[in-house]
């Protein structure tokens, strides 16, 4: 009896799609799909050397090597023990220290794993009150920043290497001068960091040199939001949203679900309310109004596309509705004060959204992006007041920050000649200061400019002195997390290249002797810590990484309506009918500070899937009207400045607006990122830090090649992601298991003998699509944990990216206003793995505990396994990416061989560094599993305790995930979290009809639309109608698989 199970047809117009080419069914897209590895991926191409030449060369070198058989003999290796034992260090074991990464929006509490004195991996500090042990992409990639071989290594004076003693002398000279004139002409420009020690040293400096100028600049800071908060609630007040308490959330131009820009606690708070385990459970609802698609927009139940300038009018209209519904006179006054202007959005959207928010008074929240002007910020605060958010979903905190001037004030002082000695500690203002300040030019007129930086960048080039900065993993310090808790910053390693920290420079300027070790921080600590036993408190501080009960105290939120009215009435709508250009933070390299970090550069932006570049995002409608296609170079002009950049058509983008992410187009970067992207900072002025209006756009006629990953290894529309509305889930909880083909398949039989899965533990993973934001933390965590090399832009373009986790991004619906879905795909560890049956050398086999193993030393690189993998998760090392410089990949044996010494230090010692010609893929972090098993056995010793229930093993992706969407564990243990998730009705296998029995399963995404909203009928139907829906018309029906489930379809 023959069973034919045809793959579902690819619909002519797919419901779920990954790129516009796929939606339009362009032949180029099919061609990419047809080839397992893209055109030429398997061929020797590029460079001047043909394959034949290469073989000749190789033959010759092998013949030479063969003489005397010297190449066959094992080289002599050495064991180099310590001269003197190092405290706590056990060779071969990780040693963990608590530390923290200072950030502008509050420190990221971390635990660093060090191996023989070198940090190799960072995890979140689970003890810290606002961390659940999770991290984000920036924290995961910080290790690579530390070992970055392009970091600056020497003190430079006017561009030439100088002696550190010369700099010390200069510092002393400046100090003596300041001592004499009270700090006249002395100025500092620093980054935001709530460091108690820095504050203490500043106070000390100010007491000695009362006339010094202290300025702070963050290109993506929250100056507008802070100004609004200060005006409405009094200075020194800060706000902390509590998404865990919010049933209804409206986010306007605010990507709060990106933990890098908000905080781990905000993502966790929101997604906790998104996680449902059984029908009937309530769920929060998210409204988003934004310009381009962000992860937050992808999670939205209702999303409105607005131009950045429309945030104000939108909130005004919403505010009037809310004021009417709640009878709040303060809000009414503020909304009236805000100047009226036309709004193109559907008024019903606003009315219904307002109704829904007002219906959950005290349990709703409105958040606005940090970049929006202060007038819009106060409007949102007034709405929150009317909604009763204060004290519930929005809490006040009393913060203590030293007063700091803005960069505008500093620039004015520089222009007026009031600055003679300027210290730029961190940051890169020449590159990222508002363009109208002409900061770089101003620097030329200052007699002494000292720059402390990790890299020799644009600012270093414009300064007289450059001093290498110590990375936060190399220096002592302290900082505060967003809630105000003081965190310890501990060095994991001595400065690799003689870097000094900001604190050391300030300390020297204060005339203090050079501190020994943590002395500086400890002095501050002594002034803060309570209790008699300071030594014990200090030890506890370092051990736990933070000082408990130091969070900012709560503050009552008394809304100052008059001030708010005044600010709101000052709002100016941009004039002119040109384009609005929104400046967005880069989800991968932030404001440009991580531009040298290959892990981050190679992480595809979640929405655009572009690596190593940024792009001008244009909506499909606008692109059509301008005749723009992906990769067209455009010239954007605003005022008298213009930039050139390449455009990309972005589904879901607001019409009439453009978005470009900041941080790219750096000019002073060496290495792989030297030509990455386009600099948008020249368009950004003090008049509009979030967006510039009335810009014009012109095609230059040139084309630019992006390296996108969105069409790599695409899996055609086969209901891989599954989604439903909350009401559908409540009616039919198992909808995900009967969707698409899954309702039709007869019981599966396998032709292959199954591996014996007889271990007491059986590993598996569940990924909850309801809470996955697509933030890429897992992708970078995996890269850090598993020694995954980067391949460079050119190789990514050829489809050779090595990342073991692919963050798939799907669009659903029409191209103008689609839904967006995220799905992390890694090796699914199929029980009937198709890769295993085709490997000619048994390099990929199954273990008794359900892992699909990859024995690198057996692999001969046939790539059959990758061809036969239905998930396309296997990665082939075409070149020796770990060993070769990325610009010499095609030089064959002439290429420089060997990794930079500092990069060797960054590798995880427990994972093989794979070589060329070897297939690799996700291992479920087998090194962590084996470590746990060994620990258990060692503990058992000569007893039978070696099978006690397993200590918790977390995979690196799970540990990093801020939303706890990835859960790994023993599926045979019914009490494990993963087993419980797999027992949920939302749980489904991808491509179930193939009978490969993947160990990784997904939990279908649930959306919670408000049926009164316009377009609500389209929300939550990403899968559309069932696969053979020819006769079903275009209507969105529930999958009707259930009635077929028992039907025998065998023929």
């Amino acid at each position: 009896m023959k069973r034919i199970l045809p793959h579902p047809e690819r619909p002519a117009k797919p419901v779920l799609w990954r790129s516009l080419d796929e939606l339009a069914a362009k032949p180029e897209f099919d061609e990419i799909l047809e080839r397992e590895f893209p055109q030429g991926a398997a061929e020797w191409q590029g460079g001047e050397m043909s394959r034949r030449n290469f073989l000749q060369l190789m033959g010759a070198s092998m013949a030479l090597a063969g003489i005397g058989m010297a190449g066959c003999r094992r080289p002599e290796a050495y064991i180099v023990p310590f001269t003197q034992g190092v405290e706590w260090t056990i060779p071969g074991k990780f040693l963990y220290y608590a530390t923290a990464q200072p950030r502008r929006n509050g420190a990221m509490p971390l635990v660093a794993a060090t191996s023989s004195g070198r940090p190799t991996k960072l995890e979140g500090n689970p003890l810290h009150p606002i961390s659940n042990g999770a991290t984000d992409t920036f924290a995961q990639a910080a290790v690579l920043d530390l070992y970055d071989p392009t970091r600056s290594r020497a003190v430079k004076r006017e561009g030439t290497t100088a002696d550190a003693a010369d700099f010390a002398a200069k510092l002393e000279e400046i100090r003596a001068a300041a001592e004499a004139n009270g700090g006249e002409g002395l100025a500092f420009l620093v980054e935001r960091n709530d460091s108690p020690t820095r504050d203490r040293l500043l106070a000390l400096l100010q007491s000695r040199f009362p006339r010094l100028m202290w300025a702070e600049y963050e290109p993506l800071g929250a100056a507008e939001a802070e100004a609004a908060t200060a005006a409405c609630f009094g200075p020194g007040t800060a706000l902390a949203p509590d998404f865990n308490q919010a049933d209804k959330v409206l986010a306007v131009d605010c990507d709060f679900l990106n933990a890098s820009f908000s905080g781990i606690d905000q993502v966790r708070g929101f997604t906790a309310r998104r996680r449902i385990s059984e029908p009937g459970q309530p769920m929060n609802r998210l409204y988003v109004a934004e310009t381009r698609y962000t992860g937050t927009g992808g999670m939205a139940d209702h999303r409105l596309r607005i131009k950045p300038s429309e945030a104000g009018p939108l909130l005004r209209a919403l505010g009037r509705e809310v004021a009417a519904l709640t009878g709040d006179s303060d809000l009414a006054a503020v909304a009236v004060a805000f100047p009226d202007s036309a709004l193109s959005s559907d008024p019903q959207w606003i009315v219904e959204c307002a109704k829904d928010l007002a219906a959950s008074r005290g349990r709703s929240l409105v958040v606005v992006g940090d970049g929006q002007p202060v007038s819009v910020q106060v409007l949102a605060l007034a709405i929150n007041k009317a909604l009763g958010s204060f004290g519930r979903t929005l809490r006040g905190m009393k913060v203590q920050r030293p007063a700091a001037s803005s960069i505008t004030e500093l620039a004015a002082a520089m222009e007026a000649g009031r600055v003679q000695n300027l210290f730029i500690l961190g940051g890169n203002p020449v590159y990222n200061a508002p363009a109208d300040l002409r900061f770089g030019d101003l620097l030329g007129g200052i007699s002494t400019t000292v720059r402390l930086g990790l890299h020799e960048d644009e600012t270093s080039a414009a300064c007289r002195w450059h001093v290498p900065q110590a990375h936060f993993l190399e220096s002592w310090g302290d900082t505060r997390s967003a809630d105000g808790t003081i965190c310890a910053v501990q060095p994991m390693i001595l400065p690799l290249w003689d870097g000094v920290s900001e604190l050391e420079i300030l300390n020297r300027l204060a005339g203090n002797p050079e501190p020994v070790g943590p002395q500086l921080v400890r002095e501050t600590f002594a002034g803060i810590a309570k209790g008699a036993d300071l030594e014990a408190a200090w030890t506890e501080f370092l051990r736990k990484g933070f000082l408990a009960d130091t969070a900012w105290p709560g503050a009552p939120l008394n809304f100052n309506t008059g001030a708010a009215e005044g600010l709101a009435s000052a709002h100016r709508m941009p004039a002119g009918d040109g384009f609005e250009v929104a400046f967005t933070p880069s989800s991968t390299i932030d404001d440009g500070r991580y531009a040298t970090n290959g892990w981050l550069q190679e992480t595809p932006d979640f929405a655009t899937k572009i690596t190593w570049d940024n792009a001008v995002l244009v909506s499909p409608v606008t692109a059509k009207s301008l005749g723009l296609a992906d990769g067209d170079m455009v010239k954007i002009s605003a005022g008298d400045t213009s930039i050139k950049a390449a455009a990309i058509v972005a589904p879901g983008h607001a019409d009439g607006a453009l978005s470009i992410s900041l941080g790219y187009g750096r000019t002073t970067i060496a290495g792989a990122a030297s030509e990455a992207g386009f600099n948008a900072y020249p368009l950004r002025t003090t008049k509009g830090m979030a967006f510039v209006s009335n810009a014009s756009l012109r095609r230059t006629g040139d084309k630019y090649k992006f390296s996108e990953t969105q069409t790599h290894q695409s899996m055609e529309g086969r209901d891989l992601v599954r989604e439903a509305t909350l009401s559908r889930y409540d009616e039919d909880p198992t909808f995900a298991q009967t969707m698409g083909m899954d309702g039709h398949i007869p019981p599966n039989i396998s032709l292959f003998t199954h591996p014996k899965l007889d271990s007491p533990e059986q590993w598996g993973m569940a990924v909850d699509l309801s809470t996955c934001v697509g933030c890429n933390a897992c992708v970078v965590a995996c890269q850090a944990e598993n020694n995954i090399p980067i391949v460079g832009k050119d190789q990514v373009g050829r489809g050779r990216i090595m990342a073991w986790i692919r963050m798939d991004r799907y669009f659903a619906g029409d191209e103008e206003d689609p839904e967006m879905l995220a799905q992390a795909i890694m090796c699914q560890h199929c029980e009937n793995a198709p890769c295993e049956t085709v490997c000619p050398v048994n390099a990929t086999v199954h273990s008794e505990d359900g892992l699909n193993l990859m024995a690198y030393n057996r692999c001969i690189g046939t790539r059959y396994c990758a061809n036969n993998c239905p998930w396309k998760v296997r990665r082939f090392n075409f070149f020796d990416y770990n060993q070769r410089p990325l610009d010499q990949l095609y030089f064959g044996p002439l290429a420089k061989k060997g990794m930079a010494e500092s990069l060797q230090m960054s590798k995880n010692p427990n994972v093989t560094v794979r070589m060329r010609g070897v297939m690799e893929k996700c291992t479920y972090c087998i090194q962590r599993i084996e470590e746990a098993k060994i620990t258990r056995s060692v503990k058992a010793g000569a007893s039978d305790k070696s099978l006690v229930p397993f200590p918790e093993v977390k995979s690196a992706c799970q540990q990093a995930c801020p939303s706890e969407s990835i859960v790994f564990g023993d599926i045979r243990n019914p009490d494990s979290r993963v087993a419980k998730l797999k027992a949920e009705p939302r749980n489904y296998q991808m491509l179930k009809y193939l009978n490969v029995s993947p160990r990784t399963t997904y939990l279908a995404r649930i959306k919670n639309p408000n049926m009164a909203m316009p377009g609500a009928d389209k929300v939550g139907w990403a899968n559309g109608h069932p696969h053979h829906g020819g006769g079903h018309g275009a209507g969105h029906e529930p999958a009707h698989g259930a009635e077929h489930a028992t039907e025998a379809h065998g023929h």
Partner: protein, 217 residues
């Protein structure tokens, strides 16, 4: 009669013969080489910077393995002692011996002694000392009679098949926990070993991994 075969074929049989001989030779040489202890480095005995004698320290002085290899029971890597460990005794004993010049120099300069590595698993193989010594496998099983070696050499091939011999039948090597670091201990007979090993294996749930992932990560 026309030539059926072009003239170059005249040399073909000879060429074939040469190729067969060369190929045969290569195969023979390959097998000869790869199956000899030379390839697996059994007997590899490099000259060390310090003529350290295990025989003197363990057999004559009765020192325990773990005095120097102090982390063998807790870490995957069995540490080679730091200079400090050597100097703990040798600052008093034989403090002027020329044989210890390298150790004293290391202590004075802070530069570590560079011992030549003898036992080496490939980089893609993760051997863990702690789990072996805690579960009844003696140092002896892999390092041989190292306690009696005046100069250390590699006693066993450390090849994968050699590893698997034990992983597939650990009962042949399991010994009483108290005798793990007693390298002179021998079972009364091979039958005794088998009986005792089988009992330990059952009692302690010894189930060494034989899948790739046990050692290759």
């Amino acid at each position: 009669m026309a030539n059926f075969f072009p003239s170059w074929t005249n040399w073909l049989p000879l060429k074939l013969l040469v190729i067969v001989f060369v190929l045969g030779g290569v195969v023979t040489a390959g097998i000869w080489y790869y199956f000899t202890p030379k390839y697996t480095n059994v007997g590899y005995m490099p000259t060390q910077p310090v003529p350290f004698s295990h025989a003197v320290h363990v057999e004559q002085l009765g020192m325990d393995c773990r005095y120097c290899h102090s982390y063998v029971e807790v870490a995957g890597h069995s540490n080679v002692p730091s200079t400090q460990t050597c100097m703990a005794c040798h600052s008093q004993i034989k403090s002027a011996s020329p044989k210890l010049a390298a150790v004293r120099e290391s202590w004075a300069t802070g530069e570590p002694v560079q011992w030549v590595r003898i036992h080496k698993a490939p980089d893609y193989t993760y051997f863990n000392h702690a789990v072996h010594v805690n579960r009844g496998i003696s140092c002896y099983s892999c390092h041989g009679q190292i306690n009696a070696m005046p100069v250390v050499y590699q006693a066993e091939p450390l090849s994968m098949s050699w590893c698997l011999d034990c992983h597939r039948a650990p009962e042949n090597f399991l010994r009483p926990p108290a005798e793990v670091f007693n390298l002179n201990w021998r079972p009364a007979s091979s039958a005794d070993q088998l009986a005792m090993g089988a009992e330990y294996k059952k009692e302690w749930n010894i189930n060494p991994p034989v899948t790739c992932g046990g050692c290759h990560r």
